[in-house]
């Protein structure tokens, strides 16, 4: 595995292997006096964020640092991007500066794929740089994918529910703009779960019929019998028109209120990728209830990203005879 660009690149075995490894990282760090492993010593990990983020960037940074990598954060506002440098030139610069891994977040769908393609082309043309380019990790590209988020959600669900085979997961809200929803829908179904989307018709993506999911109109109808409910953020910053009449109506039809939470089975889990808009998508008390796994998700995020960095940066692909 060279890059992690999309969850559709992961088969069930690989995905489960990554989840197992994340749990092993958690065990390895438990009860330790020093939270530092020498595993990635001498490797350089760069986070390149063209969009704001707390959780993802911080957990990649912590993951890299706990494994002794040198972590450098590049943000659009503090780089030459603000002077008009192109994505390609920024990426090539970081490549030339010696990055072993680039963790890319970009508002345009496909940005991480595009960077990987440029590096591959360069590698084939062997245009002056020695060796292959850095590993690319997609940390969210537009409305397309967010694979590490889906992996950490799957890990959280597995910890709470056991094996995901046959479990029913309901994704609620702004599916259209949500890369988290897209990555989760595909990864969870790869892992054998049944995925149900509940969303206003206006917030469903074109081509959703081809996804391995069932689409439903009514949240009330889907809550009983659900093993997990994953609430999504309404991504106002990506909305250029009226997708629903009002925040209040959205909240009434698709918000996870206290009343709705009572409809859930006792073992059911509530997930939210954050940041949460309390009072709109999710009730105040719901977000703080024991059913909610929001902070467990963040905690798992660090271990999951350690597992991904370990898989991409350590070991050769060739099998030693």
């Amino acid at each position: 595995m060279k890059h992690l660009l999309s969850v559709t690149d992961l088969d069930r075995e690989t995905a489960n292997g990554l989840l197992d490894e994340a749990e092993r990282f958690e065990q390895a760090l438990l009860g330790r006096e020093v939270k530092k492993l020498p595993t990635l010593r001498g490797r350089t990990v760069m986070t390149v964020f063209f969009e704001n983020s707390t959780r993802t960037r911080v957990s990649f940074e912590v993951a890299g640092k706990w494994m002794s990598a040198d972590v450098i954060n590049v943000s659009a506002s503090s780089s030459s991007v603000s002077k008009g440098e192109s994505l390609r030139d920024t990426a090539l610069t970081l490549h030339a500066a010696g990055a072993d891994a680039l963790i890319v977040r970009h508002p345009a769908s496909g940005a991480a794929h595009q960077i990987a393609r440029w590096f591959n082309e360069m590698d084939e043309a062997s245009s002056g740089y020695a060796g292959p380019g850095p590993a690319i990790i997609n940390a969210g590209d537009g409305t397309h994918e967010h694979p590490t988020q889906a992996l950490l959600d799957a890990l959280t669900l597995r910890q709470r529910l056991g094996d995901l085979e046959g479990k029913r997961v309901v994704l609620v809200g702004d599916i259209l703009h949500s890369r988290v929803a897209r990555s989760n829908a595909f990864l969870l179904s790869t892992l054998g779960a049944e995925v149900v989307l509940v969303s206003p018709r206006t917030l469903l993506p074109v081509g959703v019929e081809a996804w391995p999911v069932r689409v439903s109109d009514s949240l009330d109808a889907e809550l009983p019998g659900a093993d997990a409910v994953m609430m999504l953020r309404v991504q106002a910053e990506r909305m250029n028109g009226g997708f629903f009449p009002s925040a209040r109506e959205y909240s009434i039809r698709y918000g996870l209120s206290e009343r709705r939470m009572k409809m859930l089975d006792d073992h059911a889990v509530v997930l939210h990728p954050g940041p949460m808009l309390r009072g709109m998508e999710i009730g105040f008390s719901v977000a703080d209830s024991p059913k909610a796994a929001v902070l467990q998700q963040v905690n798992n995020g660090v271990h999951m990203r350690m597992a991904v960095l370990f898989r991409l940066l350590v070991g050769t692909d060739e099998v030693v005879a």
Binding site: G17, D20, E21, R24, F25, Q27, A28, L30, G31, R32, E33, V34, K36, L37, P38, T39, M67, F310, R311, V314, G315, T316, D317, E318, V319, V320, A321
Partner: protein
């Protein structure tokens, strides 16, 4: 230069693979039989009791902690702890330390999955730690374990117990408790079978590449 490097890579690759197919091992020469393994572990348990005085009841004597190196070292640590309890009435705490994350050859070897790590009850602070592994070879695994141990805390002392010492050290490391010393050639391979993993106990020596 190329030849010894290649040999070193090969031999540590043999050390790397801890999974043996019991059926293929049959062709090798038996070094320890099923009952020999049990006796050897019992003898090592006696030696550990004698050398650590863990049953003396003296508060000045350090608490003894066994830390196994997965996977067979951890199994051996559990067996040793069982025998030590049987002979002395004191059960030492057991931990498991996966050294994958501390290896110095991660970049040149294929990906290897992590094994279970667990910090023993009460930690290792000020304890007498006995590292346990099945085969002592180059010493690189033990070095990695010493690095890993440092991150768990500061033991009062560290000792090493191995079932088989096959020589060919690449680092200044020696074992405190050895089940059996086996002079080997670098081209040979030692297979340790344990009931918990392979259905029966036994130690075999075979030429690398035999029937594989």
């Amino acid at each position: 230069m190329a030849v010894p490097e290649d040999r070193a890579a090969k031999s540590s690759a043999a050390e790397f693979s801890q999974r043996h197919d019991p059926d293929q091992v049959e062709t090798g020469r038996e070094l320890l039989s099923d009952s020999d393994v049990g006796r050897t572990i019992a003898r090592m348990a006696h030696q550990i009791i004698e050398k650590t005085a863990l049953d003396s009841g003296d508060p000045q004597v350090a608490r003894v902690v066994l830390i196994g190196i997965p996977t067979r070292g951890t199994t051996l640590a559990h067996r040793l702890a069982g025998r030590i309890e049987e002979f002395s009435g004191v059960r030492p705490a057991i931990g498991s330390l996966d050294i994958t994350l501390y290896r110095d050859d991660l970049r040149s070897k294929p990906h290897r999955p992590l094994e279970r790590t667990s910090v023993p009850e009460g930690g290792v602070e000020d304890a007498l730690v006995v590292l346990v592994d099945d085969v002592l070879f180059s010493g690189r695994t033990v070095r990695s374990a010493l690095d890993g141990l440092r991150d768990l805390g500061r033991p009062r002392a560290v000792q090493l117990a191995v079932l088989i010492d096959r020589g060919h050290r690449e680092l200044p490391i020696r074992a405190d408790y050895v089940g059996k010393n086996v002079p080997t050639a670098r081209t040979e391979d030692i297979s340790v079978l344990l009931r918990e993993h392979d259905g029966r106990d036994g130690v075999y020596l075979r030429q690398e590449g035999d029937t594989q």
